[in-house]
Symmetry: C2
Subunit: 281 residues, 2 copies
Amino acid sequence: MIRKQLQFKQATSLLIICVFCFSLLTLNSYAQFSKKQEVTFKIGMAGYTFKDISIDKTIEMMKRINVKYLSIKDIQLPLTSTQEEITAVKKKFADAGITIYTGGVIYMKTKEAVDQAFDYGKKLGIDMLVCAPNYELLPYVEQKVKETNIRVALHNHGPDNPLYPNATDIMKHIGNMDTRMGICIDIGHTTRDGQDPCVDMKRYFKRIFDIHIKDETAAAKEGKTCEMGRGVIDLPKFVETLKALKYTGVCSLEFEKDSKDPLPGVAESIGYFNACIQCTK
Amino acid sequence: MIRKQLQFKQATSLLIICVFCFSLLTLNSYAQFSKKQEVTFKIGMAGYTFKDISIDKTIEMMKRINVKYLSIKDIQLPLTSTQEEITAVKKKFADAGITIYTGGVIYMKTKEAVDQAFDYGKKLGIDMLVCAPNYELLPYVEQKVKETNIRVALHNHGPDNPLYPNATDIMKHIGNMDTRMGICIDIGHTTRDGQDPCVDMKRYFKRIFDIHIKDETAAAKEGKTCEMGRGVIDLPKFVETLKALKYTGVCSLEFEKDSKDPLPGVAESIGYFNACIQCTK
């Protein structure tokens, strides 16, 4: 009698667990096809993409791909611009529904260049600069961050640049500095440097303020930017990592190919990234 | 003693089932990120996309988006073309690595038009025509299929066209005819007609020879083609359906927007579709 009761209990427990696990599986496969899910981050463009394109054409292209955030590059809006010039450019983008949310990458080799960059940031009315100051200038940059309350996101440039090859190198230099000093992680250069963008994203998440997204032809120094989906970076996995971490910043596509005619490659990449967002958990 | 043995057995069974189910969950979430998975179908372009574009420009655009299959439209290569003209155009595409795998959509309102279309197919050396013959011509089309062994894929055109509004209407007319007569399912018009492309795909799979892919702004007559991912069609789910069915044909993007400058929208759509393939199970 006891034996029968136990067998019955055992069978019931097994059944309940099976039903529970298969429900989980079903929910899991449903989740990836829920198109209109909420995502915490935004899609943007890194200005270097448009280095050979006029501002008017840039606006036209960004409207075409329906991207509303821009990290402006000094090639389009020089660091020496007056307040009037900066206000006019900002208005042009704003009129097209585009927000200049940051500027960069700004290289800083002298104290004067640091001053100029923060002054540019103030004129632009932004709260963050994407930059790559020489290592010895970091204490001065920290002083400017404290003075202005403008954050800095240091950009990693892979194995072909001795300045900040990867996020770990950045953190080695700023880990103990003001927490308004962080990283703009470039997942292409990270990959070219042999690092895993998902690992670095998780490891340094609290200090990652901005992201340059792209794909690369190889996970090596020779790797070149290519259309998203055609290269070696596991972008679906990267998007899932962003979702899991609830990243709330911008992912800006830096398309370093076809600079005279970037729109087709940019559009293909944005389409690819949109589907990664819609298809992943 | 018996009771203890049973409890131990019960606990072991539960543990094994839990491990098994969690392994399944892990495998499931891994599967969607396996970038280089094998897919049985190909990506192509439907020629109507290039209705205002020259053949040379079409080739240039297709190379740019890395698409190698074309369903040529009579606007670019008229049905009245000679064998020499057809061979020359075919060679131009072949030299660029592009295969003309079918022609269409070809409308047929008379027996002569049916003859002309099959003659065109023979000259092109293709084994399938995408077409929309008047209903009363279907027996004659069947006769030509038997004579030539060229298959026909009838194209549905949604609620604004009395000829073949959806796949069900096509099957109502050809269900009992030669099995070399089938469907080119247009998922945009299917959606505009209030049908679910995934349901029709499963229901008529054996007779679906070709697919026109796109996205639509609305699941209604007023719906217009838009960039994939921006509209109402659940493309990730459709791609998963194709994978489950092991569809081996071509999915040809028919981008009926910006016909004077289709490349950006086409590129965004192809990027989106590529990610759907890479992200789904």
